[in-house]
């Protein structure tokens, strides 16, 4: 279980994370969606959990161990992977090389100076498996920077899954993806996540997607937790609707 306890983070005057206490993965493999208006502190929260930022106060607990002071790469080894809102992949590598690099790293083989990078059979098998799961076989030998946007997003997510995480934090995996591709990207994530029992925490703006796929929804507002509940919360909580959609009662 991954827990945030009383997390606080401010940037100068701005309180980006205001006393957040949440837990994820009580039920293994749950799909949690984080929603909230712009500036609600969604990305900051993920940055705190993954070690991109360190909190001013509070702690992060992974399976009972305090990991608040752990380095970002240490947390990846401990099973927490993430993706970024803006695709961050290794642009000059092909899709296959990107995934190979991830799997080699995950298996702790990157200190090997004299073996062949493409000569580890178990790694190659895992790379093929990822290519297939994320339907990237046709693009396997395309250099990342030449991929269409949807495939870049998929590659980004595939790389996170390649780390064999227990917890996966995705920062808007569907942002900038066309409506048609959106479903495809999110479906792939849900499918693979469910199959491998990965607890997935996803920031998402598209409420249709949230309603359709979420096991649980966390709503943030002005750095604090506005509410936690089932996706039906989006329908029933009027104040939340107003916050997210700008729909007021008087309209």
């Amino acid at each position: 279980m991954l827990e945030a306890r009383n997390l606080r983070k401010s940037f100068g005057e701005l309180v980006a994370t205001d006393d957040i206490t949440l837990e994820f993965g009580k039920e293994e493999g749950e799909l949690v969606f984080i929603v909230g208006p712009n500036g609600a502190g969604k990305t900051t929260f993920i940055n705190l959990l993954t070690g991109f930022l360190s909190p001013d106060e509070g702690s992060i607990i992974l399976d009972g161990d305090d990991i608040t002071g752990m380095s970002a790469n240490g947390r990846v080894d401990a099973g927490i992977a993430r993706s970024f809102q803006v695709v961050k992949v290794f642009e000059e590598m092909t899709v296959r090389e990107n995934l190979r690099t991830v799997v080699l790293t995950e298996q702790g083989k990157t200190w090997s100076l004299f073996s062949m990078a493409d000569g580890h059979e178990d790694v190659e098998a895992q790379v093929e498996d990822l290519l297939e799961k994320f339907r990237l076989e046709d693009a396997a030998d395309t250099v990342a920077e030449e991929l269409p946007h949807g495939d870049r997003k998929l590659l980004d997510v595939a790389m996170s899954f390649g780390l064999d995480p227990d917890y996966l934090l995705l920062d808007e995996p569907t942002s900038g993806v066309s409506t048609r591709e959106k479903e495809y990207v999110i479906e792939t994530i849900v499918e693979v996540g469910r199959a491998e029992g990965v607890t997935t925490v996803t920031i998402e703006h598209d409420m249709d997607i949230v309603t359709e796929y979420a096991d649980r929804v966390v709503a943030l507002h002005q750095g604090a937790v506005h509410g936690v509940g089932p996706p039906t919360m989006l329908e029933t909580d009027d104040e939340l609707r107003r916050l997210l959609l700008g729909v007021g009662e008087d309209e």
């Binding site: 290794f90 590598m93 690099t101 995950e106 004299f114 062949m116 790389m159």
Partner: protein, 382 residues
Amino acid sequence: MPERVDRDGTPAYRFLGVEMTRREAAFLGLGVVFLFVIPDIAGLSDSLQLSVIHQGLLFGFAAVGLNLLLRHTKLTSFGHAAFFGTGAYATAVLARYAGVQSVGLLLLGAIAAATVMAAIIGALSLRHTGLYFALLTLAFGQLLYAIALGQSALGGSDGLPIRPGPANQPLLFGTAFSPDVYQVLTYYLTVVVILIGLFVMYRITQSPFRNALDAIGQERTRARFIGLPVRRYVWAAFVISGIYGGVAGGLYAVVRQYVRPEGTLFFLRSGDILFMAILGGFRTLVGPLIGGVVLIFLQDVGQDVTQYYEFLTGVVLLILVYGFPRGIVGSLRSGGIVNTRLGELRREPSVLSTWGRTAVQSIERKVTAALTSLRIILFGVD
């Protein structure tokens, strides 16, 4: 024995992890033979001196090491002469104060010293990236230069000789040779060391370690978030590249039998090493080596021709950046315009007449334009 593999349809061979087609193997063989016969060729011409080529190879070898950082982690070190100089001075100090005579031991000393130096400078400068990293390496390099200049034990600006033992010369295979033979033998030693060094570097650039370095170079943040302890990897790469510099410096000291701060530690030498990698093609393995020979050769010839020989380097750099950004080897390999044209010619010789026509047409156009300009200048706008 070489094992036959298939690379995109062309048969290739794999031996000791090195994979190449017949064509590449032939080039490699030619290159090796060429390196070994250089002492014989060099005797034929006055402008082609063995010592110049030798020096070029040594600095080029340091550039091969630097290239590990430049090509994969995308870090630009402006202080690689520090390791070259450390290797050279370690050799001199061992020969002078410890009485070490064997070339092998001297080189081991150079490697050890450069490794320690690279470990320290790396740990201190790799906290930063980009410009600050470059400036820090430059600063540490100049610091070592200042130390070498200031310490009388290191000979100050006069430097130190490497003339240990009764023969006044380091011993190869426990034997003292006549100076001429010594020069040629140390050259062969350099060639062997370079071949081994290139092989090792080739294997490193095929290994998972290289994937980690590439990842760090291309997207540092993501590299961290796939679980790479970024600084540790970059530090390891920095030390490896420093070792190449140390080996080169040690050999340089053994060959020249004299080290001066100006020739080994001065920041312009760092600039040279960086320039060599870019000149030869930093996206290739052997490019920096060739860049080294070419640059040292140009500087040497330039020195004979004009006292403004530094100017020559500048001109070469400009031509390079604007005309051949991939460097010598990079341009040759990617084919470039020359190869494409040659290919066309081989397929269809009549293309020659087309080229002729195009050339005449373009000359006509240029002349007409020039005449128009001339008329305008002379008679004003018509």
